[in-house]
Symmetry: C2
Subunit: 236 residues, 2 copies
Amino acid sequence: MPNDGTLRVTPQPVRRQVEERLREAIVNGRFAPGEHLSDRMLCDLFGVSRSVIREAVRLMEAEGLVEVVPNRGPFVSYLSPADAMQVYEVRGVLEALAGQGFAERASDAEMAELRAVFEEIAASRAGADRVGLLGLKRRFYDVLLRGCRNAYVARMLDQLLNRNTQLRATTLADPDRLPHTIEEIRRIVEAIERRDGEGAWEACREHVRQAARVALRILNQQAREKAEAGRAQAAE
Amino acid sequence: MPNDGTLRVTPQPVRRQVEERLREAIVNGRFAPGEHLSDRMLCDLFGVSRSVIREAVRLMEAEGLVEVVPNRGPFVSYLSPADAMQVYEVRGVLEALAGQGFAERASDAEMAELRAVFEEIAASRAGADRVGLLGLKRRFYDVLLRGCRNAYVARMLDQLLNRNTQLRATTLADPDRLPHTIEEIRRIVEAIERRDGEGAWEACREHVRQAARVALRILNQQAREKAEAGRAQAAE
DNA sequence: TTTTGACCGATTGTCAGTCAATGTGATTGA
DNA sequence: TCAATCACATTGACTGACAATCGGTCAAAA
């Protein structure tokens, strides 16, 4: 029974809402990595029973947003630099596949929609608020994933994007990186508008490669700062 | 906290066992696609309470093995031909990435292990039982995914392989296809042993491409037979 | 002083039972 | 035959309960 997505009204069980809210809270960093998400606490927070919470947490676990240690409950996952690099590696190929699929299969309307979102991104200047920019980029991906006609790519890439949102927010808004970012996205959009699957593939891979490069730089810098702080504390 | 996998003893909650068994049952076709997996039925079957069942089902849903329709419960997912093609598309790039990662990062011991499993596969002749061959191939992937040093690729590819196990069992054991299959895998292993990431990438992509081709042929044939049966029934 | 061992509170894992809402199927009536 | 209605089954969600386990505290022993 394929869901056409047409006018289909589906009831929103409490569980779904909790899932969304919880995912959002974790992704947006409202719960810090390593934080313990105890049952009771979440019950109080969302005002629902334990069963609902537990089922939602199970989903977060499947998505990799939390790690459940037996008899201690779920903890918000850390994203180590090594993890981040792995994520970028996978994102690269999945995003490329999505781009190619979009170029080859999306409707003209979807293509126009993608272009529209891109123009919004291109209009943002350095100093734009990180969260707003991230939201725009998110919309870009939403359109891309919808138009690529591959539900599996869409789901997996969606999870990956959630997985490293914090890092993306940082790299995306890097002020002297923004023009390059926009240029990379422009190449994606242009290849897509030429219906050039191969070109879209390459442009997407390149885009993620650059993002990974910036992310790596930031992570290294953070590591340096941390080491610095460690030394300072040791000297004290 | 990276799990080194060394001597670490982890308790196995009932839920985990139910998850595994349920996944296995669905993957192996013990539950037919479209079948309704009602709470009570599963409770009786596994001898556990509803909460455990519901949490396990939630996982199966996240993995795409079941679809839950509100107020009616979970149903075993169908894999339409279109779905299958999408799966192969994603499998292609993920498997290629895994192969490349393995070639570049696996230990020599892991490489030897991969070679060993391959030799077992190569030793199997046409007429070998499907399930046995599928098991071997599964072990091949297990080694590959462990050695590719990318947990995200591993998890996602694992899910995809589960998703279309039935179809894989059919294509893998296609008698006049088996020699070609073995040859394709040989190329993967050889590229890996040369530490040739690029070559491993290509060999993996090609392998999946061929698998998809065979699968498509089989699906078309099934569709024809179905149409035939439909006409026969209509004429009756 | 350090280590060992036992105890205690808190949390998780699991269960059983309840209740409302919804969907299914059968019965009934026109 | 078809439509409306009603009873039943199932899901969604909640609650209370209990055993198992974990982390920490604290006293006794080496």
